[in-house]
Amino acid sequence: MLKKIVISLLLLPLLLSASSAEYEQKIYQTIFSSLFPQKETLYVWSDTPKNSRLIDNVSLFTKTSDINKADILLLSKDRDIKKQTPIFVTNYKLLKSYKQSAIGGFYWKKGRPNIVLLKNNLMKNHISIPSHMQKYIEND
């Protein structure tokens, strides 16, 4: 217990000084390191400059401009993508558009940030869901 308190006190300044962008990067890092525990690097293709900056700052991610080499497609726009590569979206509308292929999304809705994982598409891509991520699953 004492150890926890000491660690919390040590961590508090860092928590209070972290920026919104740093939290966003950490959230992506946490989601994808949980979904791909065996991978040390994930090749990510993205469609917007903002997402590219995000990819640059997430240690697990490596940016690729070749969509065929990508492990994950990080999408913010509705595109006619036929590839079977797992798709992760940054808004709710896209999650609906890519209902058949997206493994999940991270976006603002109802005044708060939301993480949603789509069970069937994760299974299609042979991605298992760790227990601490179960609460974000939606049955698509």
């Binding site: 928590l15 890092q29 946490t30 940030p113 974000y136």
Partner: protein, 640 residues
């Protein structure tokens, strides 16, 4: 060694955080507050209230919010209009204030202020609030004021979905709000909000000549707001209407019988940002303000001079058209904003003043209009990464249609912002003025009304100095303000023109200390101390205020507690003196989050029944009435 401890703690943090995405999401939400994008850091004296603050406080009206802003004493006038005083001073002229909803200035041209209509506006559609004190319009390229309140609405990018919020209190009030927001397939996003409220206030009694009269100050209102966005185009459309009781009214003996205020303000505001940082805004406002006083014992309200009337009926209508264009030039160490705007203000007033004993009806119908042109430039130059110089210059040119002289006003501001380690010092000086409202130009002592053609604007000199200390857990700011007002506009009953410029200058000194200590992202305490002194060396209001607030969360519960202390003072008037006692206003709020989408709240106001008393002069004797009622609000919020 210290380096390794820090590294270790960082790594441990990341490891712990991986275990709890919910904590990360919560931290991300708080650090992503929209105020981070809208706040003008180059302002001399600014405060921000985040969405998280407002939600924990369970604030639902603007006047409730203003009560917890340090150094602003939100009260109500005898005719039930939100009024503002500052420490030690008399009522702060309402035309010193400007209220914005997003980019739109909702001030009335008749009154020079927004509070006559928007004072008790519901705030559920507001995301966060910024207060700029001892300032000028120059940051915002609009009309001038010394206190600017900026309300920013929620938007579809954050709030897609729908929300219902219902509130009720123990006096029988209700406040029902709903909004819905979405981003459509074609990229158009919308946010639409509707409100209906009925706010019941404590009823007071008064008697005169053996008859008892009720003093009511209830309010009913409807508010509609919508915003549309497509790429860099925004359209805000709003309509707010309300009905207020007259409270004490304007009777000689404060014996009102019926009568009310019915007001409506509708506007549309269009904004388009083009490439190369050019922004164009167009807006149109229509306001109506219908005041009806009835008092059989006679109304003291002016006009017709020396005649006794019992029934006073007046309507104001404003039509305002505004066009603003601004262009930004940005380099690595310099930002220059050029801005020009044009405003047309049409004003009309139709009054019927009825002596029901004779019976005789007097009328006064007046109209005027104003073309206002303004040019503005602001430069922020970073001498280095820790030292910024802010300079602004603005010219405002007033051209009235008739009766009032042309006015040309020049404003200038210079400021220095220096950062050293955890400290930030600001020093600002600005020469400004306070625009005249149509209401101040016309003398109600004559029927029909006549303008004072020589009335001039109040000139102001404002200097601010502040020192801020920020560490990971503590933020503390000490601010000093010197404000000199010259040529105050006063109503002189015996003068031919009514409103005149006073030959006396007034100086206000003001000190405010704000300290926030964050235990973590969910728990903080805030201490605000405010002290003011005026050049008359007489306290017209409490000269000292202290607020101690605690914002806390534990599991599914949010807590908010605040204690507001104001010292006492002696109120003097021709009809008698009052000893206004020190006040202790305690507000507590508790919210239970049943789920992410459903929460229930309880907010208790003026728990100690010792809120600040407002003094009202009367012909027989003055009255003192608390500004806050002792109430409990129940609150339910559901998002879907």
């Amino acid at each position: 060694m210290l380096k390794y401890v820090f590294l270790l703690s960082s790594l441990s943090l990341l490891a712990c955080a991986e275990d709890n995405l919910d904590d990360l999401l919560s931290s991300y939400q708080q650090t992503s507050d929209l105020s981070k994008m809208t706040m003008k850091d180059s302002s001399s004296f600014a405060e921000v209230y985040t969405r998280d603050d407002l939600e924990k406080m369970q604030i639902h009206t603007l006047d409730d919010f203003l009560k917890i802003v340090p150094g602003i004493y939100a009260a109500r006038s005898s005719s039930n209009i939100l009024s503002i005083a500052i420490p030690s001073n008399k009522n702060f002229p309402l035309s010193y204030t400007r209220l914005y909803i997003n980019d739109h200035d909702v001030s009335s041209s008749s009154f020079g202020s927004a509070f006559q209509i928007w004072g008790e506006m519901p705030t559920e559609y507001i995301d966060h609030i910024e207060i700029y004190k001892a300032t000028s319009s120059m940051e915002f390229g609009n009309e001038n004021a010394a206190l600017i309140i900026k309300l920013y609405t929620k938007n579809a990018n954050r709030d897609s979905g729908s929300k219902v919020r219902l509130l009720a209190d123990n006096l029988g009030s209700y406040d029902a709000n709903m909004y819905t927001a979405d981003i459509l397939e074609n990229g158009i996003s919308y946010f639409a909000y509707a409100n209906s409220d009925s706010i019941k206030r404590e009823q007071y009694k008064t008697s005169y000549n053996g008859k008892e009269y009720n003093i009511d100050s209830n309010k009913q209102g409807y508010n509609l707001f919508a915003t549309l966005n497509y790429n860099n185009f925004y359209a805000d459309i709003a309509s707010y209407q309300k009905r207020n009781d007259n409270f004490l009214g304007k009777g000689k003996y404060n014996t009102p019988e019926n009568g009310d205020l019915k007001a409506r303000h509708s506007y549309i505001h269009l904004s388009q940002t083009f490439s190369q940082d050019i922004k164009v805004q167009l807006s149109y406002d229509n306001l109506t303000y219908e005041r009806h006083y009835i008092d059989q014992n006679g109304l003291t309200i002016a006009t017709p001079s020396s005649k006794t009337i019992q029934d006073y009926d007046i309507t104001f209508e404003d039509n305002i058209f505004s066009a603003i264009i601004e262009k930004k030039f940005t380099t690595s160490n310099n930002s220059l904003l050029l801005d020009g705007f044009y405003k047309y203000k049409g004003f009309s007033s139709n009054g019927d003043y009825i002596d029901s004993l004779t019976p005789t009806t007097y009328t006064s119908n007046i109209a005027n209009s104003l073309n206002m042109y303004s040019l503005y430039a602001e430069d922020n130059y970073d001498i280095d990464s820790s030292f910024r110089v802010v300079t602004s210059i603005k010219g405002d040119f007033f051209r009235y249609d008739k009766e009032v002289k042309d006015q040309n006003e020049l404003l200038a501001k210079i400021g220095f912002i220096k950062k050293v380690d955890s400290f930030k010092a600001k020093l600002f000086y600005e020469k400004g003025y306070v625009p005249l409202s149509f209401y101040q130009i016309y003398n109600p002592g004559n029927t029909p009304y006549k303008a004072n053609p020589n009335l001039d604007t109040i000139k102001t000199d404002i200097a601010t100095a502040s020192l801020n200390y920020t560490s990971d857990k503590l933020e503390s700011t000490l601010t000093y303000v010197y404000m000199k007002s010259m040529g105050l506009v006063e109503y002189a009953y015996l003068s031919a023109n009514g409103w005149i410029n006073s030959s006396n200058d007034q100086v206000q000194d003001y000190i405010q200390l704000d300290s926030t200590y964050k235990f973590d992202l969910d728990n903080k305490i805030v201490l605000n101390l405010a002290y003011g002194k005026n050049s008359d060396d007489i306290n017209y209001s409490p000269n000292f205020e202290a607020l101690l607030s605690a914002f806390n969360s534990y599991k599914d519960f949010d807590f908010y507690n605040t204690l507001i202390y104001k010292n006492g003072y002696k109120y003097t008037s021709r009809s008698g003196n009052l000893n206004i006692l020190p006040s202790y206003e305690l507000i507590s709020a508790l919210k239970y989050h049943y789920s992410q989408d459903l929460s229930f709240g309880l907010r208790a106001e003026n728990i100690l029944n010792k809120s600040m008393e407002q003094a009202y002069k009367g012909r027989l004797h003055p009255k003192q009435i608390q500004i806050s009622d002792r109430k409990i609000w129940l609150n339910m919020e559901y998002t879907f």
